[in-house]
């Protein structure tokens, strides 16, 4: 069991998801961005520009490694080869944080390239906790587990997502990555109260907050169905939910995610500036 009290090594400041097209801009005018997050799987080649850029950036910025392919919620065993590749990356890069998702994406030798949902049952809890134990043991570091965006629910679930995540942290000592946009998306889609979710979330275990844009569609009954697209500016109600969260959690490392239709650097830097303003009250209180 890992010591859950050790805090993330990321600064309580805005960071962004790194996109190669922003390489020169980030080196020239990063403000207010103080740290970067990469998707682990994009840096599992053997050489070339991706690794050269990452080595260069890591000399100037704390880096968060965010996995999108480990499939921690898999019914089957974790992919040992993939875990070994994550270890190789974390060993040479020595990132300030490693995080993955409460989801599955691989099954029977196929990788589905999406974060697929899990029923919240005792059986899932046991399996996810075992997998997180294995990850933390192999990597030799504590990980953060991210709450998902949900578009549907499982009739077989026996506990709430917040109870599930709390139990996971208690069993494994892992920290949590709280994606505030995911909370808003899931709460809207499943007609839950987003603020009640935050109230019930183990905020002391949160090592990082994510914020991203979503798209709005409708389900069969005309009810709003929000899609976690990471392809737009962050919506105003999500910023409001962030304020509500930070009032309760205190300052946290805050990541802006923008993965599709990626804008030019100034647009992303503006979102990070808005993140810096959102963090300011909690930073003032904490000092």
């Amino acid at each position: 069991m890992f010591d859950a009290s050790s805090s993330s090594q990321l600064p309580n400041a805005p960071g962004v998801g790194y996109k190669p097209q922003h390489f020169a801009d980030i080196l020239e005018s990063p403000a207010p961005v103080e740290w970067l997050e990469i998707h682990a799987e994009n840096y599992m080649g053997l050489g070339g520009r991706p690794l050269a850029q990452l080595r260069h950036l890591a000399e100037q910025f704390p880096i968060s490694v965010h996995g999108v392919g480990l499939s921690i919620g898999s019914e089957g065993a974790l992919d040992g080869d993939h875990l070994a590749r994550l270890k190789t990356l974390c060993d040479w890069l020595n990132p300030a944080s490693f995080s993955e998702h409460l989801a599955w994406s691989s099954h029977e030798n196929a990788f589905l390239n999406d974060l697929l949902p899990l029923p919240y049952t005792q059986e899932t809890l046991n399996r996810v906790a075992d997998h997180i134990d294995q990850v933390q043991e192999v990597l030799g570091r504590k990980m953060l587990l991210e709450n998902p965006s949900s578009y549907l629910a499982f009739a077989e679930s026996t506990m709430s997502e917040t109870d599930f995540l709390r139990a996971i942290t208690q069993r494994t000592g892992c920290g949590l990555l709280l994606d505030v946009n995911n909370v808003f998306v899931s709460a809207t889609n499943l007609k839950l109260d987003a603020r009640a979710y935050i109230d019930d979330f183990p905020l002391a275990q949160v090592g990082e907050i994510h914020l991203g844009g979503h798209d709005e569609e409708a389900d069969d009954h005309g009810a709003p169905l929000l899609i976690d697209s990471h392809g737009a500016e962050i919506a105003d109600p999500v910023w409001a939910l962030l304020d509500y969260t930070l009032e309760r959690s205190g300052p946290k490392p805050l990541l802006i995610e923008w993965d599709t239709d990626v804008p030019d650097w100034p647009v992303l830097a503006d979102e990070a500036k808005r993140g810096a303003r959102a963090l300011a009250p909690s930073l003032a209180l904490a000092s």
Binding site: G45, S74, N113, L116, Y151, L152, A153, A155, E156
Partner: protein
């Protein structure tokens, strides 16, 4: 009733299959088209990944045809690895056996070229050889040497003018492809893969050298099958693409 990951996966890949019954909208109603968010995320993201990896194939058959084709491919060959940079390894062979595109004979080789470029892009780094060594080594030392190539080096052999076709589609003012077979060498001097056509016999020579045959012996073998083999042209290609890393004369 529960939904296993086997059930979930099957319904993702088969749009005709009913949504697994234990999935709800959170208010005890069936999930219905909410499930399509996952179907869409999986299938569309894989199709887009494939199209981004094969831009010239996409251009040659058109984005709409490519999307239809990719829909078939991603269901028949989902990735078996989370490293999406590797996705599409079976795509050239899939194109070769896809009946409706049999009239576009060169398509599979263009896909092979695009796949090889991507492999070169992500391959391990290596420092290209200093060309001065060719002036410094006496001829007998050169003949006795074994050769080390860069990990990024890739070879695509085609009975079509595959490099000309690629360039005609990707670079401005490129000439019309000529009707000749092309064997292509891809190397990566620093970060950007470079492609060059090689003289006939080059691929066979490189295979011999990769098997540690001495340069002089390998050249003799090639000259038997290709009496006019142009080694200096191949050497130019190897140096321009950074594919040559070391020459080690025998002691």
């Amino acid at each position: 009733m529960i939904t296993t990951q086997t059930d979930f996966r099957a319904a993702i890949f088969d749009p005709q299959m009913a949504v697994p019954a234990s999935l709800t909208d959170g208010s005890e109603q069936p999930a219905g088209k909410r499930f399509n968010v996952y179907r869409n995320n999986v299938i569309v993201s894989l199709k887009e990944a494939l199209s981004e990896s094969f831009p010239v194939v996409t251009k040659l058959i058109g984005p709409q045809s490519f999307a239809n084709l990719a829909g078939l491919y991603v269901r028949a060959h989902p990735p078996c690895d989370p490293r999406m940079m590797l996705y599409g390894a079976e795509f050239p062979a899939f194109l070769e056996t896809f009946q409706p595109l049999q009239h576009v004979g060169y398509l599979a080789d263009v896909a092979r070229l695009e796949l090889a470029q991507r492999r070169a892009y992500h391959a391990a780094d290596a420092t290209p050889i200093d060309p001065a060594i060719f002036g410094e080594l006496p001829p007998e030392a050169l003949a006795s040497a074994t050769v080390l190539f860069a990990p990024a080096m890739q070879i695509v052999q085609s009975s079509w003018p595959v490099l000309d076709i690629w360039q005609f589609n990707m670079t401005k003012d490129a000439p019309q492809p000529s009707a000749a077979a092309q064997n292509v060498l891809i190397g990566r001097p620093e970060f950007d893969p470079q492609m060059r056509a090689m003289p006939e016999g080059s691929a066979e020579l490189i295979t011999l050298l990769q098997n540690r045959t001495k340069l002089g012996d390998a050249l003799e073998t090639i000259e038997q099958s290709h009496p006019d083999f142009d080694f200096s042209a191949l050497l130019g290609v190897l140096l321009q693409t950074g594919a040559l890393v070391a020459l080690t004369p025998s002691q």
